[in-house]
């Protein structure tokens, strides 16, 4: 059984808002699986459903190949959107409650507090914590009892640069120990740095899913122009190495793999009796690929 979590056609509607629209994902064991999408794209809704907090309107999912149930969630450490603790209890007592629910025993509390760097403040009431400390306590709760799976929803929210670095480091450490991590984020850079797999969400719909290398690897754009732009376009459309053609004024922008040799593009053009009046090759940033993916949906 190498699929940890599988969702099929999950949908959720809030009144007029379709928060999630037929989401199907397969998350392999041992992966760091990024769910990438702008604010409001349905990441929290999706994670809320698979964690039992939000009721889906339709669709199904399975944990560890089984019908989902509370016993599975005890093996999943999660931080959904924001740390949810009782403000009038100390950090430590809040963790005791989580440990009781998860059935992990109180022994696991101290290491988790140390790992997330809030051991010194464990006796303070939760409401006296800064935003960053609250987030760290949320992470400590997720780590209790070495869960097989970590589900983290925007875990670097509210953290300073050092905190962001620490959390990313922590996620990578946990992944190295063989844990499966599901990480929702709107920050492309974060997903790219940390995740082995990624699913891109927009407006509740899955736009793409695959390994990070496949999906977010950079692409090159070749700008090309000729006197007869229509003929040029029809020639290029027949070239399988050209992934995408965008007409921008009297220039065509071709998206190609960075490994594509230039001649493989220009030779067929020349053979068709066309001469390029403009030719420029540039590498695109990941950022714009991500934005492309999302724009393609509009």
């Amino acid at each position: 059984m190498n699929i940890i979590l599988k969702t099929e056609n999950l949908s959720k509607r809030y009144g007029a808002i379709q928060a999630l629209d037929g989401l199907s994902l397969s998350i392999p064991r041992g992966s760091v699986y990024g769910i990438l999408g702008p604010n409001g794209s349905g990441k929290t809704t999706a994670l809320g459903i698979i964690l039992g907090a939000i009721r889906a309107n339709s669709g199904s999912w399975s944990w560890f190949g089984d019908e989902p149930g509370p016993e599975h969630l005890r093996k999943v450490g999660s931080l959904l959107e924001k740390p949810n603790f009782l403000p009038y209890l100390t950090g430590e007592r809040n963790l005791k409650i989580v440990a009781d629910i998860r059935g992990t025993g109180y022994d696991s509390i101290e290491p988790a507090l140390v790992k997330t760097g809030i051991y010194d403040r464990r006796k303070s009431n939760f409401h006296t914590y800064s935003l960053g400390m609250k987030q760290r306590l949320g992470l400590a709760a997720a780590l209790l009892g070495d869960p097989e799976v970590l589900v983290l929803d925007e875990p670097t929210n509210g953290l300073d640069p050092q905190g962001i670095y620490d959390v990313r480091q922590l996620i990578m450490d946990e992944a190295r120990c063989g844990r499966t991590v599901i990480l929702a984020s709107h920050i492309l850079d974060e997903v790219e740095k940390v995740c082995t797999h990624v699913a891109v969400l927009s407006k509740g719909k899955l736009l793409a899913q695959g390994t990070t290398a496949e999906l977010l690897k950079s692409a090159d754009v070749i700008e090309i122009a000729a006197d007869n732009l229509d003929k040029l376009q029809s020639v290029l459309e027949k070239n399988t190495l050209v992934k995408k053609i965008v007409r921008n004024g009297n220039i065509l922008e071709l998206t190609v793999d960075p490994a594509t040799p230039m001649e493989r593009i220009t030779e067929p053009v020349a053979r068709a009796g066309l001469s390029a009046t403009h030719l420029l090759r540039r590498a695109t940033k990941l950022e714009s690929r991500f934005l492309d993916l999302i724009k393609g949906d509009n």
Binding site: G52, P70, L73, R74, L89, I97
Partner: protein
Amino acid sequence: MRRILTIEYNKLIGYRAFWVLPGIYAILMLLFFRIFTRLDMIQVNGERVPIESILRMEKVWHYLTWFAGFFHYLFIALIILLIGNEMRNGFWRMAVTSGLRRVDLLTGKWLVMGILSLFSTAIVLLVGYLAAGFAPVDIPDTAFPLQLATLFFLQAFCYIQFGLTAGIWLERTGLGILLVLLYAMAGEPLIGYFLPTAIKEWLPLNVFASLIPNPVLEDVGLGTSAITTGLALTRSAVWLALLGGLAWLKVRNTDL
């Protein structure tokens, strides 16, 4: 069950209102006992009656449990505060995503309600026995008032269940408490005014109140409350099941 109790214990230990409100109840009941033991005459229909003539332990228990019934509202406020705090701070979301069954969110509360009802009953018994010991006259028959104590316990539990269901559906603490008090003081009497007696007697707080009939009415000869204890018990059970079911309906289906 022990796990759920431990979770509730850890939640309550740091929550001040949980210790303050029952404390207020205990203090007020003891004050009542002080007044009671100073009394040697009471007024009935404008006539002064020496207290010995009506003072039998049976009566003392009845007055005490009936009087203590007004304090159920403190416990209703407490349960609404507890529920509201947990829902507002995302505690339920955290608990469920960590693997607590949704029904156990309620099991925990039912355990706490049982403990609060027991505490409330214990205070009534304590005050009763103190009253018997310190009364200005010897009161005959200090046997344990099993029936009244049981009815009082059930009554307390039913009232708190009313608060629990209201709290769960209203989600906001302040508003929840206000609406429940409004309903108890004005809503139900007003609604009852427009309903035929047969239906009015079915209104929930009326039903719960009728578990321990008003002793003053009895003493001034206005008769006991209209329904028997057996009927009050049956109707209370119906309401308890209904309110419990309503609470579960919300907890089971809501997005946390």
